[in-house]
């Protein structure tokens, strides 16, 4: 071998080395570095072909990085420890390959043989094999010179350095990727933490958590399951990537039962043979509980951990991450459930408050109104915007009574009620009952007041309208159900009773005025008590005449029966009264009564200033005529009155009479009692 080189060759080598430097500096990827170096190497030593292989120590895999003029396909092969041990002998030199070595792996040997390789240079960095450079025969079958070997040695050293750097960069990249994945896991945990405070819909939450868990753990599919308190069948709130599959999962399934009994999450693999795996037809599963405050709310199941090489088992770290996600999800679910319960309770309360007729106003510790129900707005005749946040001193400034009730309640912290007080905040006519009660929190601290305002103006109106005419029971009936009350004109069937003192005018002429008043008061007092006893409506008192209506303003099936009983009891009472009068040596009071039944127009009739509830019509007039026809102690009724009353009352038909305004004679009956 000659070591002598001429000047041109020397310059050529120098320029090659110069180019090598450029390749190392300029090329940004190991593939381009390798192909540049290989091209330069082969060109410098005039070799026909060559290849650079890179060695993956973790997998003992030798794979092609770059080839030039190699027809044989070679992608990769596993290197045996024997090869690595033997090739190490050539760490600082080269191996002249002649095809006789028996420790070279078969795939590599086949490649080297076919590509007619002549030189093999192991690329060692210290003790680590990073790759292999193979060089084919020299052009024209010339022999490689010492200078060629030297050049190869120099280039190989640089190539080793480049591979070493490549490995370092690759490691850094791998670490960076791992760190990014860790960051993604942390971000996911953080995001779910944020979701706890922002997502209050359980279905939305389930999907969000499941999707994040699947993405971050590289699972191929998954499901988010909720326990159903009413059923052993579990609710699958969210499924991902199962296609159209539908599962019926029960909490009795082995693994889920185990978790229900307190077990933590589980990794299931091909080695397990559980009911859950059979149900889902999947072997690689990660199952974790959704547990909050020691109660099991559900499960999260992930399936098949993906890698570039296929599916692998989940590991303990995956279990830890999913457990952490599920713990946060469970807290969020619990929050969502609580929120739902609170919202429902609030709606329930609001609906109750909204439906009651009493105005309910809450006042906070500062004395400001913080809520008012619909009835409250109506009673105050103000909108929410005028009421809320207003201080009660301003809101009720016209009603010193109300302010006093509130102030006193604040002081003594006890419920105070005042009834029947005017409420000028609403209007001059408004009458209310007001109750104030302190609001006490769970710790017993006072945090404001609740004011209940009941508008009783209508009650007062009704009482004022009817109290003179009807019994308390009728008023109460009316107040219980105001739909029965129709104060406008309406046609209705009533029974009308008239009573009249016979000969009262002539009788009174011989009496002192105070005796007349006393007699009438005694008489009316007894009669009206009877009217009210039978729930009759005292329509009018005209002189000594009473007009009583049964069936207005409230109708009842026994209106006529009550009218008859009223008349009979009145006549009996008059007998008693006359016995007393007789003892007092007073003239007897003789009363005739007439009862008619028929249709009348009822309502508040009169002028705007003077209005009375009454009935008008022919039925009324005939009733009055019947009364006129009745002799002392008699009760005369029309035919209409006798209908369906035969069982209880005895009627005696009298001679029909002529009545003013009626063409035909009227059939009349006397009630025998």
């Amino acid at each position: 071998m000659s070591t002598h080189i001429d000047k041109d060759q020397f310059e050529y080598y120098l320029s090659s080395l110069d180019e090598l430097g450029e390749i190392l500096i300029e090329a940004d990827r190991i593939e381009s570095v390798a192909s540049g170096i290989l091209r330069l190497t082969l060109g410098t030593i005039m070799a026909s072909n060559g290849a650079i292989f890179v060695f993956d120590r973790e997998n003992s895999m030798l794979s092609t990085l770059s080839t030039i003029s190699v027809k044989e396909k070679f992608s990769s092969c596993i290197l045996t420890p024997q090869f690595i041990k033997n090739i190490k002998d050539y760490q600082y030199g080269h191996l002249d390959y002649d095809g006789t070595l028996d420790w070279i792996d078969k795939d590599l040997k086949d490649y080297l043989d076919i590509s007619n390789s002549k030189i093999i240079i192991p690329l060692f960095h210290k003790t680590k094999l990073l790759g292999v450079l193979s060089v084919g025969e020299k052009f024209m079958s010339e022999v490689f010179t010492d200078i060629d070997y030297k050049i190869l040695e120099i280039i190989s050293n640089h190539l080793t350095e480049a591979l070493y750097n490549y490995e370092l960069i690759k490691n850094v990249e791998e670490k960076k990727k791992e760190l990014n994945i860790k960051l993604l896991e942390l971000e996911t945990l953080f995001d779910i933490g944020v979701a706890i405070s922002s997502v209050l819909d359980v279905n939305e939450l389930a999907e969000d958590v499941l999707f994040r868990a699947i993405g971050v753990l590289n699972a191929s599919k998954g499901m988010f399951i909720r326990q159903n308190e009413q059923s052993p069948i579990l609710d699958i709130l969210s499924m991902f990537n199962w296609g159209d599959k539908k599962f019926l999962l029960s909490k009795k399934i082995d693994i889920l039962q185990k978790i229900n009994n307190g077990e933590n999450g589980l990794i299931l693999t091909d080695d397990h043979n559980t009911e859950l795996q059979k149900k889902l037809k999947e072997n690689n599963l990660l199952v974790v509980p959704l547990r909050a405050k020691d109660s099991l709310l559900g499960f999260m199941i992930l399936c098949d951990k993906e890698t570039r090489k296929g599916v692998e088992n989940f590991n303990d770290l995956d279990l830890d991450i999913l457990t952490s996600l599920s713990n946060q999800a469970a807290v969020a679910m619990d929050n969502a459930k609580l929120f739902k319960e609170i919202t429902e309770a609030k709606q329930f309360n609001e609906s109750i408050l909204g439906s009651i007729a009493t105005g309910v106003i809450t006042i906070n510790a500062l004395g400001e109104i913080d809520s008012v129900n619909k009835a409250g707005e109506n009673i105050l005749r103000l909108g929410q915007e005028e009421i809320l946040n207003n201080h009660y001193m301003f809101l009720f400034e016209k009603d010193s009574d109300v302010i006093e009730i509130i102030t006193k309640t604040e002081q003594i912290k006890k419920i105070i009620t005042e009834i029947n007080i005017p409420f000028l905040t609403a209007s001059q006519e408004t009458i209310v009952n007001v109750s104030a009660a302190p609001r006490i929190d769970v710790n017993g601290n006072s945090e404001g007041l609740v004011i209940a305002i009941e508008d009783i103006s209508d009650v007062s109106k009704v009482k004022n309208t009817f109290k003179r005419y009807v019994s308390k029971q009728v008023v109460d009936n009316l107040l219980e159900d105001d739909t029965k009350l129709n104060l406008g004109g309406e046609e209705r069937e009533v029974t009308i009773l008239f009573t009249d003192i016979r000969g009262f005018t002539s009788m009174s002429e011989s009496m002192k005025p105070e005796e007349v008043v006393m007699t009438l008061n005694e008489y009316f007092s007894e009669m009206i008590d009877i009217v009210f006893k039978y729930n009759g409506t005292l329509d009018k008192i005209i002189g000594d005449e009473l007009m009583v209506v049964f069936g207005a303003p409230l109708a009842a099936e026994d209106d006529t029966e009550r009218a008859l009983n009223t008349a009979i009891e009145m006549q009996n009472k008059i007998k008693e009264l006359n016995n007393i009068r007789k003892k007092r040596k007073e003239k007897p009071v003789l009363v005739g009564a007439g009862i008619n039944k028929g249709y009348v127009v009822s309502g508040n009739i009169g002028s705007r200033d003077m209005m009375d509830y009454t009935v008008i019509g022919d039925t009324v007039n005939l009733g009055s005529r019947l009364c006129s026809a009745a002799g002392p102690g008699e009760i005369i009724v029309s035919k209409e009155v006798t209908k369906n009353q035969d069982n209880q009352f005895k009627f005696e038909e009298l001679v029909p009479i002529n009545v003013k305004g009626k063409k035909d004679k009227i059939n009349i009956f006397k009630v025998n009692y």
């Binding site: 960076k176 990727k177 990014n180 994945i181 960051l183 993604l184 971000e187 995001d191 999707f211 994040r212 699947i214 993405g215 971050v216 753990l217 590289n218 699972a219 191929s220 599919k221 991902f240 990537n241 199962w242 296609g243 159209d244 993906e306 890698t307 570039r308």
Partner: protein, 114 residues
Amino acid sequence: MSEFKLDIKEEGDVVIISTDGYLNNVGGEKIAEACYEKIDGGKNKFLLNLERSSVVNSIGVSILIEIIEKLQDSDGKLGYYNLAPIVEKTFTIMGLTKYSTVYPSEEEALAGMS
């Protein structure tokens, strides 16, 4: 969610691939396969419409990185639009957005790719 699907169309010299499904190993491979076929046919500008892929894992992202590397050989570009916030966040964290661009809409994406 059913099988991963692709819809491929071309707008000028840009190949738009709309995906439907989980962008994981399977989804990523399908995208890569479609891209490589187009790259072999001379295309080097690709847009991914990820409107119907709201879940992505790191394997899917790795495959997208491989596509970007391949495109770098031919001075090509990869862009995305219609990304779910969680997907965009994953892309950012995994470093994908340093080598490829996220656009808010198809129009802006096409304008950005030209």
